[in-house]
Amino acid sequence: MKVEQIAIFLENKSGRLAEITSILAQKGINIRAMSLADTADFGILRLIVNDTESACQALRDEGFTVGKTHVVVIEVPDQPGGLASVLKQIKDGGLNIEYMYAFTQRSGETGLIIFRFDETDIAIETLNKAGVRILSGEEVYAI
């Protein structure tokens, strides 16, 4: 139920994001989801791709600092209050969100939200019990 995410360290310099996407494009790697978190000095780019291993290798070869982490991808009914109810389950379950970002999907019937919890396994267990739909890695990579 865990999905692999790549995190890349970036200095706040122009053009770095474009460089990364072109490195991945050259290797035929598709980006499924992307989010950039930044401070005044640096940024962290988080990506979900169809081939994590090759992406990590390609970026490392180009001198980037890369890390892999696990995130949880949750399906949220695309209707008013859909996200609110998921967040309530998370809160009731006592789970701690480090960060989250939305996922664009072609079909548009459901929204996908990526959550980074401090304790991923416990989060999955809790959310499963609460009946929240969690996507598997295969499902996400294949989107």
Binding site: F9, E11, F42, I44, R116
Partner: protein
């Protein structure tokens, strides 16, 4: 007023023979009493008898900080410890500090040189001297203190720190002369402004500033903010401490070197060949009269030139131009010596951090700022902002803890730090002196 008019105005044709006699005596004594110097001279095939003119000094080997460290702590003393009455040591250096010793006569000489310095700055026995130089192993505090007492002035031995209290004391005691590092003087000026104390509430008229390089702009700012005349002085513990050279208040341009006790040379920083009078290079000093810890051709790593034109104050001593830079990696940040290797030490002691860093020094306004750029390795990288921010704070804290200097930390991508021929350029000093 001049403290020692006889020597300070001595005609050059008398001064130079005096320097030569003293140099010959000093070299003979050092050769006879310090095995390390004797070995170095033997190796260079030079004997005390070879020094027949002042120019012969270039036959003698140089002394560096490394020589001093090798002889830690007392190896270069010429007299037994029972004749040493005071020890000082340099702080903030890598590895061993350099230790210097003084006999009773050295202490007296030092006090007289500092009295000359203060008199040249315009101070007299009527002044109340607020001494903010640090007291302790550092030579600044006690060196200035003894000179001020010897001058007959009233000394307030405040030492460093607690700026608000310092200002209260200066105001209540109506101090007329301030002794401190130039950056601390500005700090005091800013604190005064915060406290709503104006220069007219104080009685300050002169500031005597040393221990770090400072610019003419900084002088202007200090003079304006504190409403004083700011005087530059020069000294380093290896030579004696403060009291090696001082500006006269009449001119405030170039520092008169106490040439009857210290013989200056300017050498090419690459070839170490002597340069012609007036050319700019590394400043080298030989002590002429010190007993316990004489140094021969000590390379200061400071850049300057000698100014030989006669001075309106009447002193015949050559002047050294305000020091504009250092020839090696040592950085002086707000009066504190900082070595890149110390930063490296901090970095490698944090788990996962690699010693890939660069130090960037700027002068913002009149304060030195130091930024340490650290490359982010995979071992310390996290997908969470807060973890990287915590890392950055830890590095900052540890540097402050070790060096006593605040700095800014910037996390950078690997390999973003310039490397030339495999060796990283550790320091970029953008300060314009």
């Amino acid at each position: 007023m001049m403290w020692d008019e006889e020597h300070e105005t001595m005609p050059r044709e008398e001064l130079e023979p005096l320097q030569l006699r003293r140099l010959q005596d000093q070299i003979a004594r050092v050769y006879a009493t310090v095995p390390y110097y004797r070995a170095k001279m033997d190796e260079a095939h030079v004997a005390p008898g070879d020094i027949k003119a002042l120019a012969d000094i270039n036959k003698l080997p140089f002394t560096t900080k490394e020589d001093l460290r090798k002889n830690y702590p007392f190896g270069l003393f010429t007299v037994p410890l029972e004749r040493i009455v005071r020890i000082h040591a340099s702080s903030g250096t890598t590895g061993k500090p350099t230790v210097v010793g003084y006999t009773k006569r050295d202490i007296k000489l030092w006090a007289n040189l500092m009295s000359r310095t203060l008199a040249a700055a315009g101070a007299t026995s009527k002044d109340i001297i607020h001494n903010s130089y640090g007291y302790g192993l550092f030579t600044g505090g006690m060196g200035a203190h003894y000179g001020a007492e010897n001058l007959g002035a009233t000394v307030v031995p405040v030492s460093g720190g607690n700026s608000k209290r310092q200002i209260t004391i200066m105001r209540d005691f109506q101090a007329t002369v301030l002794l401190s590092t130039p950056s601390y003087a500005l700090n005091l000026a800013d604190t005064m402004a915060d406290m709503g104390v104006s220069p007219s509430d104080l009685a300050l008229r002169i500031g005597v500033f040393g221990a770090e390089p400072w610019s003419e702009n900084m002088r202007e700012e200090i003079e304006k903010k504190l409403s004083i005349k700011a005087i530059d002085i020069y000294g380093l513990s290896e030579i004696i401490g403060p009291g090696v050279a001082a500006e006269c208040h009449e001119r405030q341009s170039g520092l008169h070197i106490m040439e009857d006790h210290f013989l200056p040379e300017i050498v090419d920083p690459e070839t170490f060949e002597p340069l012609a009078l007036g050319e700019k290079g590394e400043l080298v000093f030989t002590t002429l009269t010190k007993e316990a810890f004489p140094v021969i051709r000590y390379r200061t790593k400071d850049f300057s030139r000698l100014l030989t034109d006669p001075c309106i104050c009447g002193r015949t001593f050559y002047r050294m131009e305000k020091v504009t830079g250092r020839s090696d990696d040592m950085l002086i940040i707000r009066g504190v010596n900082v070595f890149p290797s110390q930063i490296e030490h901090v970095l490698v002691s944090i788990e996962g951090v690699e010693p890939h860093y660069q130090i960037i020094v700027e002068r913002e306004g009149n304060m030195d700022t130091m930024e340490v750029q650290v490359e982010v390795s995979e071992a310390v990288f996290s997908d969470e902002i807060k973890k990287l921010e915590a890392l950055s704070k830890k590095i900052q804290y540890d540097i402050k803890d070790l060096l006593g200097v605040s700095c800014r930390i910037k996390l950078v991508e690997p390999k973003s730090i310039q490397r030339s021929e495999g060796k990283a350029q550790r320091v970029i000093d953008n300060r314009k002196m």
